[in-house]
């Protein structure tokens, strides 16, 4: 029994120590990020690598989800005679929830794992140590530009996801099913609030950008410099980022869209 309590205590202490270490790393990252604006070329390179190269998967997924959402919502709304609300339902689903959340999950899988593997392999190849010994702080040269690129890219990707999703929904609803196009667009125009709906969606995706990029960089930087270590770190990036995004989404939704 004492051994069990002891093991539980040790595990708790380790968990808190790990959290403290991650928090310290994150604060450090925030401290170095403004300075990375002076290395704007590096940030642009990373926006290309992280953001632009994620476009295919984001756009394809957004389009597919928009199409399916339109179809499903049409089937659900028609029995109630509410097919004219289709545009609104699709728009709100995408800009409030699916856009930020699915983009973040895809980002964690596509760009997060790439970041973790890249930093992990740089560590394994002693590139980070070499930088340190050249009196160049890897947190400032390697991590901060990637972090900034991640938090800039994520909201843009989420906006594009929602936009292409709405286009997909328009294609299915208006072109294929025959929903009135004026209805489809005008209800969006009248009922979707720029600040409350679109603005909050962008805030969400910004927070998710911080989470996904921060987790990916932390896992890469703290990885065991072995092939197994890098493989394990990339897996943890996806798992931790996804769980954190889903948990944070619930908290943010409760805060942003409560009616009281």
């Amino acid at each position: 029994m004492i051994a069990l309590v002891n093991a539980l205590g040790q595990a708790t202490l380790r968990a808190f120590a790990g959290l403290g270490h991650a928090a310290y790393f994150f604060l450090d990252l925030l401290r170095y990020t403004p300075a990375s604006l002076r290395r704007f070329g590096l940030v642009v390179d990373q926006i290309y690598a992280i953001g632009y190269r994620s476009l295919t998967i984001i756009l394809a997924s957004g389009f597919a989800v928009g199409c399916v959402l339109a179809l499903q919502m049409y089937y659900a709304l028609v029995p109630f005679g509410a097919a004219e609300s289709l545009g609104l339902v699709v728009n709100l689903s995408l800009v409030r929830e699916l856009g930020p959340v699915v983009t973040a999950l895809l980002f964690a899988g596509r760009a997060g794992t790439a970041l973790t593997a890249e930093i992990g392999l740089m560590k394994a190849g002693e590139q980070l140590s070499a930088m340190e010994l050249m009196a160049v702080d890897p947190r400032s040269r390697v991590l901060a530009p990637r972090f900034l690129a991640g938090i800039v890219s994520m909201p843009i990707l989420a906006i594009l996801y929602s936009a292409i999703g709405i286009l997909g929904a328009w294609l299915i609803a208006v072109q294929l099913i025959g929903v009135d196009p004026a209805n489809f667009w005008s209800i969006m125009q009248s009922k979707v609030d720029v600040m409350r709906d679109i603005g909050n969606g962008i805030v969400k995706s910004f927070v998710f950008g911080v989470i996904c990029t921060g987790v990916a960089l932390y896992q890469g930087y703290e990885t065991q410099a072995t092939p197994e270590g890098v493989a394990y770190a990339t897996t943890r990036t996806v798992v931790f980022s996804s769980l954190a995004v889903l948990a944070m989404d619930f908290i943010l939704t409760a805060m942003m869209f409560s009616t009281s």
């Binding site: 190849g125 002693e126 140590s129 340190e132 050249m134 009196a135 160049v136």
Partner: protein, 269 residues
């Protein structure tokens, strides 16, 4: 510590965890402007020693003195200004794989100097020319061989004309030609720049050929012997002789400590 000593390791004890010391009460002195080789088998703490000099780790006991000042890993500003006076050649080059050969050598110049692009261009080509790779400037790191990578890393290490150059296993995994080229380069660079060179290696003959002074380390992180290469060559100490002659068994055992083999196989004693 006399005025000729540039770096002093003063009774340093260090381990990655408290129960397993890598270096055990090690004391060394590296003379200004000389090539000093630190020889020893794998795992005896040679590379750790270089990292202690660079302030990557802090000794658990003792101190590292660099040009009269103790290396203080807690003072980041002082540590970074010390590191700007150092150049290090890593065992496998540690070149930045996302940059070209040219950009790798230009890296420390861009980070630490405020030079025009023309000036950077000229310095990079001069450094690459010194290691015989001016023609490879535009290649990607994935396109160069192991020996070439080592020479590019050397060009990068001396890009800022450091006062101290540390070489971590500069001959490991090189073919005989590359090995000879690298050994010549190390000696020539030292003589022309007047830098203090520290070379960690287990290649006895190459080190003896170019070193002014040699330390021999043994498992457990101790210094077994030191002196000029010819003095170590003539040593009668069994541990020194075993290492220099490459004998499989002697004071340093071939077998890792284990239970009797017959016992492990379940055979009657």
């Amino acid at each position: 510590m006399n005025s000729e000593t540039f770096i002093q390791i003063d009774h340093v004890t260090f381990g990655y965890d408290a129960n397993r010391p890598i270096l055990n009460d090690v004391s060394m002195q590296f003379a200004r402007g000389k090539v000093t080789a630190i020889l020893g088998g794998s795992g005896c703490g040679k590379t750790t020693l270089l990292r202690l000099i660079g302030g990557v780790y802090r000794p658990q006991k003792g101190r590292v003195v660099f040009d009269g000042e103790e290396v203080d890993t807690r003072n980041r500003e002082k540590l970074y200004s010390l590191r700007r006076r150092l150049g290090m050649l890593f065992q496998f080059g540690a070149l930045f794989t996302d940059l070209s050969v040219y950009e790798n050598v230009a890296f420390p110049l861009r980070e630490h100097m405020d030079l025009s692009e023309t000036m950077i261009h000229d310095i990079v080509l001069m450094k690459l020319n010194a290691v015989g790779l001016r023609g490879a400037a535009q290649l990607r790191i994935s396109e160069v061989s192991g020996g070439m990578a080592r020479r590019i890393a050397l060009a990068r290490a001396v890009a800022l004309d450091p006062e101290v150059i540390m070489y971590d296993e500069p001959f490991a995994g090189l073919d005989p030609i590359s090995m000879g080229v690298t050994a010549n380069l190390i000696r020539r660079l030292n003589d022309t720049t007047g830098a203090t060179s520290l070379m960690v290696s287990h290649d006895v003959q190459e080190c003896f050929a170019i070193a002014d002074y040699t330390y021999l380390m043994a498992p457990g992180g101790r210094v077994v012997a030191h002196g000029k290469p010819e003095e170590l060559n003539d040593s009668t100490d069994p541990e020194v002789r075993q290492f220099i002659r490459g004998e499989p068994d002697g004071p340093v055992k071939f077998h890792y400590p284990a239970a009797p083999f017959a016992e492990e196989l379940g055979l009657p004693q």
